[in-house]
């Protein structure tokens, strides 16, 4: 008895009851489809997060004020007001810090913005001219904040595309218009290129103003919220981090590094954290989808058990005509493998299609790995064997006399 023959026979039997075959497959289709779609979407969002973090700047180190240690009360990280403009200047000019290319002192805060009758609440970043280099900000219209703007304390603003949409509507050019930030009037001089707005922080929903204006005029602060530093190269990140650390410890007169009133983290730290978070989510969601695959497999077993009972007489007849145990096992096992395998292949296409549509809708890069395709085919075949085994055994162990008598 050849396998092509059994496969032919099994396919013929399965097509005799199309509705049942379809419904039995549906469980596997949904299971495989959701695993493929979720793995693909997970990988897509991981790629998106990675791209976005990398778009924040190359070889980027960020210095933020550490938590304030005073008496028994400890504030959260970033709450301390220990970083000053002089610290930033020292980092860029000190001979101690050799591996640093650009330094961008920043003061950012959320505040209310109005333009005519519209208003929005968004992040306002006080920045210097180096900000656009360090953070790879590109200008679509007009110009970024210049050194002159900072020196003259000009009330000019560069808007992210999301802010433009919120305040002026789509497709308008607001250059030269004025907006009010915390009640003070600013002139729009530039619009940035969109960086894509997914993830934990929308890089398009930002307003840039000169650092001096933000600190002295708007918010009256003498401290920075962060200093972004671009290292000379990726391999010099660690030494740059150390040089900055020692310089600031020195300047802040702190001898023990564990008492530091600032912290430095690199882009890689954020990248690793973010990808481990999305990785965990992907694994979690795929795990849930895998449960539906098991449920689908149980559905297959259920259908196969019904089939065996229904076809008891046929099994008896086949045995009477000379079918051995292995022939009967092969017949039913191949039926269940065909069910799960065809279901798996259909599920794979459904999953790829779903992932394609969803990634287009929520603006994620669309990725399908060869691994998930092999997984779909392998797992669905394995489910066929796993859940088809018991019904096939049950069929093969029927006694021909009893099976022939079965009504």
């Amino acid at each position: 008895m050849e396998y092509t023959e059994i496969i032919e026979e099994a396919s013929r039997t399965l097509t005799l009851n199309k509705l049942r075959t379809g419904l039995a497959m549906l469980g596997i289709i949904i299971g495989i489809g959701s695993v493929i779609a979720l793995v693909s979407l997970g990988q897509g969002s991981q790629a998106a997060v990675t791209n976005q973090i990398q778009s924040l700047g190359a070889n980027l180190l960020t210095v933020i004020p550490g938590s304030q240690r005073g008496g028994f009360i400890q504030g959260g990280a970033g709450s301390a007001t220990t970083l000053t403009l002089d610290d930033a200047k020292a980092i860029s000019s000190s001979s101690q810090v050799k591996d640093v290319l650009n330094v961008s002192p920043e003061y950012s805060r959320r505040t209310q913005i109005t333009a005519g009758s519209k208003n929005t609440n968004t992040q306002v970043i006080g920045a210097t001219a180096t900000y656009s280099t360090v953070h790879k900000v590109s200008i679509a219209e007009g110009a970024f904040i210049t050194e002159g703007d900072d020196v003259r304390q000009s009330k000019v603003a560069v808007l992210g595309p999301q802010v433009v949409t919120d305040l002026f509507g789509d497709g308008t050019n607001p250059i030269g218009e004025s907006i009010r930030i915390s009640g003070k009037s600013f002139k729009v001089v530039g619009i940035t290129v969109s960086k894509g707005g997914t993830g934990f922080q929308n890089q398009d929903d930002i307003i840039y103003i000169p650092l001096s204006v933000s600190m002295k005029v708007l918010f009256g602060s003498t401290n920075l919220t962060s200093i972004a530093v671009e290292a000379k190269s990726a391999s010099l990140m660690t030494s740059a981090e150390n040089q900055i650390g020692y310089l600031l410890l020195d300047r802040h007169k702190i001898s023990n590094p564990t008492d530091a009133d600032f912290s430095i983290f690199s882009q890689n730290d954020i990248l690793n954290t973010a990808s481990s978070v999305t990785g965990t989510f992907t694994a979690l969601l795929s795990g849930i989808a895998a449960i539906s695959l098991i449920v689908g497999g149980i559905g297959i077993m259920n259908i196969m058990l019904v089939t065996v009972t229904e076809r008891t007489r046929e099994i008896g007849l086949r045995k009477a005509l000379g079918a051995k145990k292995k022939n009967i096992i092969a017949q039913f096992l191949i039926e269940s493998i065909i069910l799960t395998f065809v279901g798996g292949v259909i599920g794979m296409f459904v999953g790829i299609l779903a992932s394609f549509i969803i990634s287009r809708l929520i603006n994620l890069p669309f990725t399908i790995s060869a691994g998930s395709i092999f997984l779909a085919i392998g797992v669905s075949g394995a489910i066929g064997i796993l859940f088809g085994w018991y019904p096939a055994q049950k069929a093969a162990n029927l006694q021909p006399i009893e099976a022939l008598r079965y009504e």
Binding site: L16, L317, A320, L321, K325, I401, L404
Partner: protein
């Protein structure tokens, strides 16, 4: 002529809980090649049990059953399956054709479990369907055939691997009497051509189509002979 079947001291007992029921007690007989034997008896006489043993569907509790030189009583399940496939052609009361399957595919079924080369299967199946007079209905499924026609498909299926014996269990039990005559005519024709046929029945006038009738009652043979005049099927 050498016997094709030798049954010697065969007993079969069933264990149903504490009670042991003897279905067959110490039965012995021989059937020679080319015989047409009817096994007759009322229900509960043990004739079905005997049929199961002769058909290698079951093994006796004690005694020997030699079919075409092989002692069937000592074989395991898979060996029994092979004996059934090669040496026995079954004709059942309920026809037992595969539903929604053409006559041709039904006749080809035993060859699925045999080494017949693929290209020879179709011609063989066609040959035997023509032999039972269904040459024009080969593609009909069982629901498109009458009872008599279905039984003729089953006979073609029984013949297709050229078995040592044809074992028919109440072959006319489910069909109209006019068509029953046709079936008997086919059996007599096959017997004339040299086939050994064993037929289990409880109807005397069907049994009389055979040359020899073995009567069994309460698990023992009560009469075995050829005294009757063989009835000729019309």
């Amino acid at each position: 002529m050498t016997p094709i079947i030798t049954v010697s001291n065969v007993s079969k007992t069933y264990n149903t809980g504490e009670v042991e029921t003897a279905a067959l007690t110490d039965i012995s007989f021989e059937i020679k090649k080319g015989e047409f034997v009817a096994i007759m008896g009322p229900s509960g006489s043990g004739k079905s049990t005997l049929m199961h043993i002769l058909g290698a569907l079951d093994v006796p509790t004690s005694g020997n059953y030699i079919l075409d030189g092989e002692n069937v009583a000592k074989l395991n399940d898979d060996q029994l399956a092979e004996i059934r496939n090669k040496k026995i052609g079954f004709v059942f009361q309920a026809f037992n054709l595969l539903p929604r399957t053409s006559a041709l595919k039904n006749v080809m079924l035993p060859m699925m479990y045999d080494a017949t080369p693929k290209e020879k299967r179709l011609p063989l199946a066609e040959k035997y369907l023509k032999m039972v007079g269904l040459g024009d209905r080969m593609d009909h499924t069982s629901s498109q055939l009458s009872g008599g026609q279905q039984q003729r498909v089953a006979i073609a299926r029984a013949l297709v691997l050229n078995p040592s014996i044809i074992l028919a269990d109440e072959p006319t039990g489910n069909i109209a009497s006019s068509q029953a005559e046709e079936i008997m005519a086919i059996f007599q024709k096959l017997n004339k051509e040299g086939h050994t046929i064993i037929m289990i029945t409880h109807e005397p006038d069907i049994a009389e189509h055979a040359k020899r009738i073995i009567h069994i009652k309460d698990g023992v043979i009560v009469k075995d002979g050829v005294e009757h005049k063989q009835r000729k099927a019309k």
